[in-house]
Symmetry: C2
Amino acid sequence: MRGLYWDGHWQLREDLPKPEVWAGEALLRVRLAGICGTDLEIARGYVDFQGIPGHEFVGEVVAAPDSDWLGRRVVGEINCVCGRCGPCQRRERSHCRNRTALGIRGRDGAFAEYCLLPLENLHPVPETMADTTAVFVEPLAAALAIVQDNHIRPADRVMVVGDGRLGQLVARVLRLTGCDLTVIGHHQGHLDLLARLGIATSLEKDASPAECATLVVECTGHAAGFATARRMVRPRGTIVLKSTFSDTSEIDTTDLVVNEITLRGSRCGPFRPALRLLATGLVSVADLVEAVYPLSAGLAAIDHAQRPGVRKVLLAINPPEYHADKPILAQTRLLDDSLQRDTPHG
Amino acid sequence: MRGLYWDGHWQLREDLPKPEVWAGEALLRVRLAGICGTDLEIARGYVDFQGIPGHEFVGEVVAAPDSDWLGRRVVGEINCVCGRCGPCQRRERSHCRNRTALGIRGRDGAFAEYCLLPLENLHPVPETMADTTAVFVEPLAAALAIVQDNHIRPADRVMVVGDGRLGQLVARVLRLTGCDLTVIGHHQGHLDLLARLGIATSLEKDASPAECATLVVECTGHAAGFATARRMVRPRGTIVLKSTFSDTSEIDTTDLVVNEITLRGSRCGPFRPALRLLATGLVSVADLVEAVYPLSAGLAAIDHAQRPGVRKVLLAINPPEYHADKPILAQTRLLDDSLQRDTPHG
């Protein structure tokens, strides 16, 4: 089968073996996949992964141990677990000691025509939900991890540092709490998307009052973003680390103790609430699609996703069914017109 | 008056001006003061303080705007606040933006014959409580901040890294939750004190299972202690930073995100529960006194407190009343016998 492959270099390969179905797992035909910051981090050595990346996707079940699933359009949780270790028994499955993770750890991912996931990881997508919406379930679930793990009160002052792919979804989740939310970013165009939703925004260079926020979410992946988050959080406040950054020297533990700051790392989140919020339209994502590339132009898609300040780049992987999806093509054509290159399809 | 003074060097001075009483503040005659890690950190440049250090004390009110307080034996909260700023209005007084802190920030402390504190900071000491017990109220309150800010469940597995002055008090508080507690340390003698209380202990070199604890309290003040804490905490667990360490390069934020670890800085805590736990004997501290020095031997006391692995060194500051306090003298004599030097009183 065809797919994108990483082994120190990105390659578009035609000779990848179609995954073999085995007990408990479903074979999925990938329809649409999203390129995530983590995929780009893998290529920078974030984890030691070799194979097919990709963990944001929507696909169809083409083989499964339970025939009820055949033909269903699904999204899938990425952590595949043993069910027996301590974290599994505590229902903290995303921390299973023996886990594999789709396209990240010990398991090929969704940047290919087919991939495998256990049935228990799958969630059916409502019929009325477009593929371009469903492909955001996984990153939206990751954003929901923040409200899953932190009690955000309507009267709280909350800030998001970073207006990129992750910051956009985090802000759209946080606004639902009714909190006093401000997003701090570098890209006026991205901030404008949020302003249209009624979210207060500020360019980094326009100083906001220091130590004003109960909770700050760091979504930039840079040490400078952490420094901004620290400046904004008030004593006894919380900084949620939603992205990773390699330069750790900026963290002053004495400051954390004296000001009783909490740092909380946050990763994967719950899929069902993400599906509900997208289905009801409480979270909208249509304005977050930067471009849709066919898998044949996958290397150009990766290049595009790496440009500073881009929104979500998608890979249309099984075009025959895909081309019937009107909203996607309309979106793509619009993007083609505006970008004029690097989207060699129409 | 006589006192210990820090201005880049420790000095025993006889010429310090007795504090002038002013509106709202009480003049306290210090009976007994404790030397804390923070006092030693001040001398290493932790904060830019010049003056009389000392914030752990028990004293008597000798002048006060409310005569009901005259003659009372008291302990005192160290943060003196404005009452008007955001943190004060949120009742987070220890984070007052305009605060002074006894012997730490903008206010002379208790290593002298007299000091000042606002009346609102004072807590009367029960008559039956020895000075050598009451002097532990402030550090015990700091240990109680952990259970004030974290819900520790009886079925939780909890670890304390560090068996020194702070770790001892933290462990004595945590055991009251009924949790499965282990203290990891370097000093067999200190661990033995805890073992006598039924607390499980382990020398650092004897490996405990990794990632076993829901919550770990870092009490060592060294980056190596943080590394141990990280090894012991399980995914989605919490590390409470109770002491500061200057080498921050060990904190891997990617690890925090992937394993969803929470780091929580913790500083001052509630005095009233500390008084209750000492009064009822639920927390005992008699075995934590290393030595009692008169103020005249204050420089030797500071030297003693800086030795590795010592327990609490106390300064007996107003000996006339103090010598009437039988339990203290008994304790001191015992210590004199065992130490045979550096405790030049009897």
